[in-house]
Amino acid sequence: MITAPFEYARPRSVDEAQSLLNKYGSDAKVIAGGQSLIPLMRLRLSQPTALIDIQGIRGLNEVRRDNGSVEIGALVRHVDIQRNAMLRESLPILVEMSNDVGDNQVRNLGTIGGVIAHGDAAGDYNAVALMLDAEIITNKRRHQARDFYRDIFTTALEHDEVVTAVRFPVSTGRFAYTKFRRRLYDWAIAGVAVQETGSSWRVGYVNLATTPRRGSAVEAALAGGASAADAAAQSGSDIDPTSDVRATAEYKRHLTQVLTVRTLQKATMAA
């Protein structure tokens, strides 16, 4: 429960963070809220030799809306999302999700940049980033979410890349998110997000494969006029769950169908 030894640096700018990452080399890591990284370090599953703490960098905690998109700074915390009135109008599904991320302590520290960079399939926002075609902005380039999530905890980020913001299209259509879990503060055993954009539906899956997944087959079925139940029956090809201490893979597949139907119903009934 005690981390391996590490160096610590607190840069004042993104450039400085980048040069520190290069200076300390490939075993250095960015730390933001620490809510994913520190649990791993505590178990010594991750043993970075240096932590580059980006929390002192100005300007990374802003939320802006322009030209049909919202840009959320990497250091915007879950609690900031929960309380942001503009986001509630422009991207309500993210606000809804933020209410149920971890517990108060986690929401007070964890950041959206951390969720994205960590690339955890169980990170709720990742599914929304993927399904809404978000853009991940770093010190070096702009990534399209659809090309970003590569494998388990693996993203397209390079070692010295710092996420500075995430850009989502303003999404004000009907939406719903269902997070199936057994404890209030827990991660999703399975999560299903749906968002209406224009005349079509976007579907995203949380923790149902090694990466976040988009419900492309379900979306296509819905676009073709299928009922919620018939469309949900297609979810099997969108996901690839594994058995773990929480549930069997078979159950997760079934659950995904059930939750997809229920989430679509919730979204359409809420409107």
Binding site: M1, I2, R44, R182, R183, Y251, L255
Partner: protein
């Protein structure tokens, strides 16, 4: 007894302001000058031979004071850990466990080396540098496979994997079964669970060379017991060995034994001549603190068509782990209580303790009684289902109704009114309305269920007549009551609170019995340096046994105070009346002396001829019997057949623990107890990989401790049937909630699923498992 004002009062716990404002004094709050820190290197293998241990890199690491292995400890620790397995008489195998493995490890988490360093960080860093060369051996994880002849052995020096095999015959079982109209069989599991105290274990050992003197601060339920064994092994007499345990953040049975680390830290202090602190981290705790349950019951029941219960046969297969827990064999009490609160012609039980390559099991809140209740309440529901009877009716028909009642194994239930608590619980939950609603909802495709648990349990451990066979133990309890010259009172006791609120409830008893203000009474416990020898706190014994020891000392003090009053009033002792702490001559209450005045006199000049100075007494109480709390819990659930998710709609409990000292404390014990039972029913399960023996639930992320949000509102109520066993009329309540609750939930779920033809559900009732059962039943 005088008119009481404090006994029965619903007052807030005096320990809470300190605890909830962060002013508690837990083990990690103990810091000594020059203190070093210990980190334990543990086996990553469930079973392996140790070829060699290379400590050189660790030794060279920054800040390291010592790296110690079994070879270093052997000369300092004289002998193995204690085992009290004498509860079982038949065949038994009691392998010795030295606190640290020498050449073979038998569970993942077994200590193989310790590092002592200047701080905890350096100790943990160096611990990673200890190189142990292991030769992995096959791990034995399955209880039934372990019993097979030719099974790999849990440890290679043992003849087989059987720890005990004990028969408990209770009457003519064949005759009972011969009368049966129905015979039903069921296998019922009890998964392993973590006791999960909020404060993990930990200790600080301060051995003073030259004096051969030692102080051990440790987080424990049993300070005197620790002193006896750790002091004994280290060769430090009790007079020189002080065990101190301040606030303890929960124990649940897992802190009622001496542990390897207590020996190792003490020995390390001796070897390094520095105070040594060890604090268990959560992952260590999950691996290396004793676990609860881990049992399988194969049960067979015989009943008549009218619902009369006749006979019960069952075998308990108990997963001991690699070594006996100090009190693992106590869990066979499940056999003796397997008949629950019903009359049986005969019960025939057998317990087989089986070694596996896991951490030991040991008592966990309820220890054997939750298993017994789960078993019998499940079986009674199966009988009801088979006969098409109301579950409540089968219960009512078979309740024990006259007391004292001697059960099939000769245990004597002291008092009870089982039908009364059942009636009350049914009224509180409005049972007829609930059943009607169930019908309506079923028609709509919704599945609700109602589950009963009518329980009786044995606690207040224990009369020496009953415990004597266990290595001559007398589980008596002690107190010392000292009235100071100006009337304040110090009460030192051998029990030790680990969250129960003794400082409040014991002071309530003393205030009433001595007739002194509640605020003038100080309760001391947890420090062997200023408390009389006691066996500690477990088995819901602290009030029924420890509280009675306090009463006994108070009575002695009152007797002496009467003599002092008689002397002061120049009256005869027979004429002295004591009324709420006022001592006066019969007929003259206006001229009274308070206890404080008599106390002052007792330390001054002019005492009666031959009277010693002072006003104090020491007492030991050996109860004539156990005490037998009981009650009825009813749970109402809804199961979502599509997800297998369970929601608890209502939870009603009517408990009877005899007279109540403080209703708020009783309610608190019930809340925590019920939560732990519900948690076992729905959430918790220690999982190990069957092949490798690696723990799969090694963090709190993967081990499901629910939160308040997952708990229903507990609707508590009580009946009061005083115990005839003790003057206070009290029974224990520390474990009753856990004993009753798991099966109330499981019976409710089973009831909800009967339309699918499902008759039995195992714990934990995880959504995926319920869904699979429903799916199979539908197919």
């Amino acid at each position: 007894m005088a008119v009481t004002s404090m006994i029965g009062a619903r007052i807030q716990r005096r320990e809470d302001p300190k605890l909830i404002t962060g002013h508690g004094n837990f083990i990690d709050d103990v810091n000594l000058v020059n203190m070093a820190h210990m980190s334990v290197v543990r086996s990553p293998h469930a079973h392996a031979r140790i070829r060699s241990i290379d400590t050189s890199a660790a030794m060279a690491s920054k800040g390291v004071v010592a790296v110690l292995t079994a070879a270093d400890f052997k000369p300092v620790i004289g002998g193995p850990l204690p085992v009290t397995n004498s509860f079982v008489a038949d065949k038994k195998q009691v392998p010795e466990q030295f606190p640290i493995a020498a050449d073979e490890v038998a569970y993942a988490g077994e200590p193989v080396a310790v590092v002592v360093a200047d701080d905890r960080y350096l100790a943990d860093d160096a611990a990673q540098l200890v190189v142990v060369d292991y030769e992995p051996l096959p791990a034995v994880m399955d209880i039934e496979k372990a019993m097979e002849p030719g099974s790999p052995l849990v440890k290679s020096d043992r003849p087989d994997n059987i720890g005990w095999d004990a028969a408990f015959p209770g009457g003519d079982i064949d005759a009972a079964f011969a009368e049966a109209d129905v015979v039903l069989k069921q296998r019922i599991g009890q998964q392993r669970v973590f006791p999960t105290a909020m404060e993990t274990r930990g200790c600080v050992a301060d051995y003073i060379p030259y004096d051969n003197r030692c102080t051990l601060w440790t987080s424990t339920q049993v300070p005197h017991f620790i002193r006896l064994f750790v002091g004994g092994a280290l060769g430090v007499p009790e007079s020189q060995f002080r065990v101190v345990s301040h606030d303890v953040g929960g124990g649940f049975g897992a802190k009622l034994r001496p542990y390897p680390e207590e020996y190792l830290a003490t020995a390390a202090s001796k070897l390094t001549e520095r105070p040594v602190k060890w604090i268990e981290d959560r992952t260590e705790s999950l691996q290396a603190t004793t676990q609860g349950r881990g049992q399988i019951f194969d049960v067979e029941v015989a009943a008549k068509r009218d619902g009369t219960l006749l006979g019960l046969k069952f075998t308990q297969l108990l997963d001991i782990g690699a070594y006996h827990g100090v009190f693992s064999a106590f869990q066979v009490v499940a056999c003796l209580l397997g008949g629950g609160c019903y009359t049986w012609k005969a019960i025939n039980a057998r317990s087989i303790g089986v070694f596996t390559n896991r951490m030991s099991t040991d008592p966990y809140r309820g220890a054997g009684r939750p298993e017994a209740t789960h078993l019998v309440e499940r079986i009674v529901d199966l009988v009801a289902l088979e006969l098409g009877m109301e579950p409540a009716e089968v219960r009512r028909k078979n309740f024990i109704t006259s007391f004292p009642h001697t059960n099939n194994f000769g245990l004597v239930y002291d008092s009870g009114e089982y039908a009364k608590s059942l009636d009350r619980a049914m009224a509180n939950i409005d049972y007829p309305a609930l059943r009607k609603r169930q019908e309506e909802l079923r028609a709509q495709g919704r599945y609700t269920g109602i589950g009963f648990s009518t329980y009786v349990e044995i606690c207040g451990l224990g009369p020496s007549s009953a415990t004597a066979p266990a290595a001559g133990i007398a589980l008596v309890e002690s107190s010392m009551v000292r009235v100071h010259p100006t009337g304040s009172v110090t009460v030192s006791v051998g029990t030790h609170s680990h969250g129960q609120g003794h400082e409040t409830t014991f002071a309530q008893i003393v205030a009433d019995t001595l007739g002194v203000p509640y605020d003038s009474v100080e309760i001391r416990h947890g420090d062997t340096g200023d408390t009389p020898f006691g066996y500690g706190t477990y088995g819901s014994r602290s009030l029924a046994v420890g509280g009675m020891a306090i009463m006994a000392s108070c009575h002695k003090v009152v007797e002496k105070a009467k003599k002092l009053a008689a002397h002061a009033f120049e009256a005869s002792e027979e004429d002295i009346v004591v009324d709420q702490g006022r001592y006066f001559v019969r007929g003259n209450p206006s001229e009274a002396k308070a206890l404080a005045e008599l106390a002052f006199a007792s330390y001054g000049a002019g005492l009666p001829e031959g009277m010693e100075h002072g006003l104090e007494a020491v007492s030991y109480f050996d109860p004539p019997n156990f005490v037998w709390p009981f009650g009825c819990h009813i749970c109402a659930v809804e199961v979502d057949p599509e997800t297998g998710g369970v929601s608890i709609d209502r939870y009603v409990a009517v408990d009877d623990c005899g007279n109540v000292i403080n209703p708020m404390v009783v309610d608190g014990q019930l809340h925590g107890g019920i939560a732990q039972g519900i948690s076992q029913a729905l959430f918790e399960e220690v999982l190990y990989d069957d092949e490798t023996g690696q723990m799969l639930t090694g963090t709190m992320l993967d081990y499901f401790i629910p939160t308040m949000a997952e708990m229903p509102h507990f609707e508590l109520d009580r009946t009061v049937t005083p115990s005839p066993t003790n003057e206070l009329g009290v029974k224990g309540i520390g474990e009753a909630g856990t004993i009753a609750s798991s099966i109330a939930v499981i019976n409710a779920i089973t009831d909800a699923l009967t339309p699918f033809g499902i008759k039995h559900v195992e714990m934990p009732a995880r959504p995926d498992r319920l869904w699979s059962m429903i799916k199979e039943a539908r197919a």
